[in-house]
Amino acid sequence: MPANILIVDDEPNIVISLEFLMAQNGLNPFIARSGEQAIDHLEKQIPDLILLDVMLPNRSGFDILQYIRRSERLKNIKVVMLTARGREQDISKGMDLGADAYVTKPFSTRDLIKKVKELTQREP
């Protein structure tokens, strides 16, 4: 059964590319274009991994990450942070909040896929 991947980003073209990449690699992508949509989605379904943009309108990616890690139901979901923020303190903040990986934009598609596969195949 293919892993479910939730893509959370507000840039339509980036979403298109990520969706294509996931599908192409035998993963099952879902889309959320904002933090609120992501929370809504998590109510209905628990994905195996989330690709989470940091710079989201209204609720930042860090917010969503915190929400996930505090929830008993959601806390085991793997989270990969995606962002243009490349500053050291941002990376460490993301890691402190419990991100499993941190990928800076513009990312290498091969690296991203590799990381996603690693995280989804690792036991639980």
């Binding site: 840039e11 073209n13 980036i14 294509f20 309108p57 934009k105 990312f107």
Partner: protein
């Protein structure tokens, strides 16, 4: 009475006096000062009461009733101001090691040699008659007491001459036994305080004797006196006795005298042990004056009753009444009282004058003429002492010659008042210098010299004429025969008595020149530094620039050599130890210039205590070199000033100002930080905005590379995205550059005469396809528009319109409605772009014009844009002197309204 009795009692008295002085000096050496208490201080101020008070007040009262009072009223009034004035003078004298009033004035005006010479000459010339008065009183009363012939005698038989010599010996014993002008003459002060007691007790004894033994109490005396018609009118206040103008001027010059007479300056300022003593003295001293004056009128009345018809000189009543009544012991006591009043004055005044003469006249002259050889290592303290002693003898001999050759029957009081007018000339320079930083050396010098010249002309010249030393008759006919230049009626002011007349003219001219010239002349650097030290003396925090403005450098060995010459080896060694304790460093050749300068200043102040500040300045400058002030030194000085601030009583006031400045700095800093943060934020946003299209481009490029088998349709779609994102990227870059240029003002607008409606038409053409793509209805009123001429940069304005129109298109839904309206309102052109999109919430209407605001605030992420468009609009409109704002359109959309002035400022 037998002369030998009088002489031996007098000598005995003087020896007791010396014994007291000697004891006080011993006590001081043991560190148990006898004079370190306020009562001694207040009593020593009693040196104000001289033979003039002791004998002359009675004479004056016999002549003009209450007319003797202003001389004591003035000091009583001044005592009220002592805490303000005298305390400041004491503080300054301690800080600057000032030893005389000449030194005080010279030091205030930048250690000016000319001023110190002028001050010394004026003081010596002005005070000599006053000293002479004492000699005359001693010899006169001696003659009365011994019953000798009062007529003219040969010089060798002249008692005044012997009195002069005896006083010279004692003055040297009291004041110039050793060289320690810096340290106070404690023995002298103790002796003077003792003399104040003796003269008070003597005068009170005579008073009690006269009122209760000669007469039957005050009522009896008064009744007897009031029967006499001449005496009745004498003791009523009013125009018949002395006029108000005389009251005023005598009171005023007496106020100055209590501060500026050299002997008063000596005891009240130089010899002061503690500023706190002033607090006691300011009520004790007036009380003393009251006590010593209480019997003046009764004695005068009694004398006039007992010796009718002026057969006995009223100045001698204090002795002649007891003699007449057969109490020769009381007469002798009265004589001793008078002697103590006279000797107290003479000794203190001559010590003060000799300090000035040696420090301000002789030593500077010797230094300048090279007579004092700096190369020699010999100790100069011996010669300094000799100079001091010779000065004492010369001053006393001058006073004697005044008695012998000039004094022709003047009363004690009138001679004394001549001296009062002379020292009153110091008032503008000293009082002005104490409270006004703008007081200048030239002003002080001009005022002093002018006042002194008037004094010579109006008071000394007539005296010389009366003495028959001048064959002229200037007093009657005026100078050069000009009536306006009569010494007693200058410029026709003839209704004043000679003393008030002289005081009026000399002080008026002095004051006017002092203030006038000070106002027009700029004080020099050294003057400014000293001015601050004086004016802010009670407020060390405000004293700026403790160091000199031009730091000096010298080999410390040279300085130490000079110190040894004038201070002696022992005191120099002590001073060096003190310096080390105070400053924490030892002066040696390796010290920095700034430290050398502080050592030089220290040495100069110390030397100033021995040879006067002007002399010290001359001596020290012979081995020093002035250095230009470096930035580091200025900073150190400022730093020292800042540290001194911490100790200031005015700290609060100052720190309030500092706090204000700090607050302003903090605010400025906060603004800078904010700007910095904004810049950071801007950079961060730009980076993010640039990375977003880059991310898409890279992702799709890699997808296409890694998936050759991708369907052609899909691949085309991806390539389209890549192209659009590339366009977005380049658009972004262009706008960022525009933005930066616009903000730096580097993008010079090309203002030309142009037509706004023409610009609008071009913009509409450029954006037409956007509306078509989204099938939006676009309407405008350009067809009916006037040309709307204005001075503008057409390209920039077109960009503004394009931005506004495409913005409206972006934020309106497909099939939406957009309108453009151009019009004129008042002096403005108005452009309105209205859409029927979601509108902009009220609290975001300002923000939309901020850079990248869309990225932060818009919720519809799919709308392409850079977030810079509106920001550029705002900048360009501002450049054209217009305004732009966004408001709610009727029906819920957004309406952007631009107002542009039809005519630019300065445009015809």
């Amino acid at each position: 009475m037998q002369p030998y009795i009088i002489l031996s009692v007098s000598l005995l008295y003087l020896l007791i006096l010396f014994g007291i002085a000697y004891y006080a000096d011993r006590r001081k050496a043991q560190g148990r000062s006898l004079i370190a208490n306020p009562y001694v201080y207040a009593l020593s101020l009693g040196v104000y009461c001289t033979a003039w008070t002791f004998f002359g007040s009675v004479g004056r009262a016999a002549e003009s009733g209450v007319g003797f009072l202003p001389i004591y009223l003035g000091p009583t009034l001044m005592a009220l101001l002592w805490w303000v004035i005298l305390r400041k003078m004491v503080r300054i004298a301690k800080q600057q090691r000032i030893t005389s009033i000449a030194d005080f004035v010279a030091s205030r005006y930048g250690k000016s040699t000319r001023l110190s010479i002028a001050m010394t000459l004026i003081t010596v010339i002005g005070i000599i008659p006053y000293i002479a008065l004492q000699l005359k009183a001693i010899s006169g009363t001696y003659l009365v007491l011994s019953g000798s012939n009062v007529g003219q005698t040969g010089i060798l038989a002249d008692t005044a001459l012997y009195a002069t010599f005896i006083l010279a010996v004692f003055t040297i014993l009291f004041g110039a036994r050793e060289l320690d002008a810096t340290e106070r003459h404690e023995g002298l002060v103790a002796a003077v305080a003792f003399e104040s007691i003796v003269k008070l007790v003597a005068f009170l004894s005579v008073g009690i004797f006269v009122v209760w033994f000669t007469f039957d109490g005050p009522a009896d005396l008064w009744q007897q006196a009031m029967v006499q018609p001449g005496l009745q009118s004498l003791f009523s206040f009013g125009e018949d006795t002395i006029p108000l103008s005389e009251w005023f001027w005598l009171t005023l010059i007496s106020m100055f005298a209590i501060l500026f007479l050299p002997r008063q300056f000596q005891v009240s300022v130089v010899e002061n042990v503690s500023e706190k003593h002033i607090l006691k003295a300011l009520w004790l001293f007036p009380l003393y004056l009251f006590a010593i004056n209480i019997f003046v009128i009764p004695i005068a009345l009694a004398g006039l009753l007992l010796f009718p018809g002026g057969t006995v000189d009223a100045d001698t009543f204090v002795i002649t009444i007891p003699l007449f009544e057969g109490s020769s012991a009381l007469a002798l006591f009265a004589f001793i009282g008078g002697l103590s009043a006279a000797t107290g004055m003479v000794i203190v005044a001559v010590v003060a004058l000799s300090t000035m003469v040696s420090n301000d006249l002789v030593i500077p002259a010797l230094v300048r003429s090279g007579r004092i050889d700096f190369a020699s290592r010999a100790d100069a303290t011996g010669s300094l002492l000799l100079i001091r002693r010779v000065s004492i003898i010369l001053i006393l001999l001058l006073a004697y010659s005044f008695v012998r050759f000039l004094d022709q029957g003047y009363s004690l009081v009138s001679i004394g008042l001549i001296s009062f007018v002379a020292v009153a000339q110091f008032a503008p320079a000293i009082l002005g210098g104490l409270f006004w930083k703008g007081a200048s050396r030239n002003g002080a010098l001009a005022g002093l010299l002018a006042g002194f010249a008037v004094w010579l002309f109006t008071l000394v010249l007539p005296t010389l004429e009366t003495a028959g030393l001048l064959g002229s008759s200037v007093t009657e006919n005026g100078l050069f025969g000009i009536a306006l230049l009569q010494p007693y009626a200058l410029f026709g002011v003839g209704h004043l008595d000679p003393i008030s007349h002289a005081a009026f003219w000399s002080l008026t001219l002095n004051g006017l020149l002092f203030f006038g010239i000070s106002l027009i002349s700029r004080p020099g650097l050294s003057e400014l530094a000293q001015a601050s030290l004086f004016v802010d003396a009670l407020d060390p925090g405000r004293q700026q620039l403790r160091g000199s403005l031009r730091p000096r450098s010298a080999s410390p060995e040279d300085i130490i050599l000079i110190m040894q010459r004038f201070l002696g080896a022992e005191r120099t060694a002590r001073a060096l130890t003190e310096y080390r304790e105070q400053f924490g460093t030892t002066p040696d050749a390796s010290t920095r210039i700034f430290e050398q300068d502080s050592f030089i200043n220290y040495a100069e102040t110390l030397l100033g205590g021995v040879i006067g500040s002007a002399s010290a300045s001359t001596v020290v400058s012979s081995v020093t070199r002035e250095e230009p002030l470096s930035m580091e030194q200025i900073m150190t000085m400022l730093d020292e000033t800042r540290q001194a601030l911490a100790y200031s009583k005015q700290l609060e006031e100052k720190s309030a100002a500092l706090e204000l400045t700090t607050a302003e700095l903090k605010e400025a800093n906060a603004r800078l930080l904010e700007l910095d943060e904004m810049k950071d934020e801007f950079m961060f946003t730009v980076t993010h905005e640039l990375k977003t299209p880059l991310t898409s481009i890279r992702a799709f490029t890699e997808i296409l590379r890694d998936n050759p088998g991708i369907p052609a349709e899909k691949a085309g779609e991806f390539l389209d995205i890549i192209t659009r994102e590339t366009e977005r990227l380049s658009r972004l870059i262009t706008q960022i550059l525009d933005m930066q240029l616009l903000e730096k003002g580097a993008m010079k607008a090309d203002f030309r005469q142009t037509s706004l409606s023409e610009i609008a038409r071009n913009a509409v053409q450029a954006t037409g396809h956007q509306f078509a793509e989204k099938t939006q209805a676009f309407s405008h009123d350009l067809e009916s528009c006037e040309p709307m001429p204005m001075l503008a940069d057409a390209d920039q304005l077109e960009q503004v319109l394009v931005n506004l129109l495409s913005n409206a298109s972006k934020f309106s839904p497909a099939g939406g409605r957009i309108t453009l309206h151009l019009g004129a309102e008042g002096e403005h052109y108005v452009i309105e772009v209205t859409d029927n999109g979601p509108g902009i919430p009220e609290d975001e209407r300002e923000l939309v014009f901020e850079k990248f605001s869309r990225a932060r605030h818009a919720t519809e992420a799919s709308i392409p844009g850079t977030g810079l468009g509106l920001s550029i609009v705002k900048s360009v409109i501002a450049l054209h002197g217009g305004t732009v704002r966004v408001e709610e359109a009727p029906g819920g959309g957004a309406r952007f309204r631009v107002e542009l002035p039809q005519k630019r400022n300065g445009e015809a």
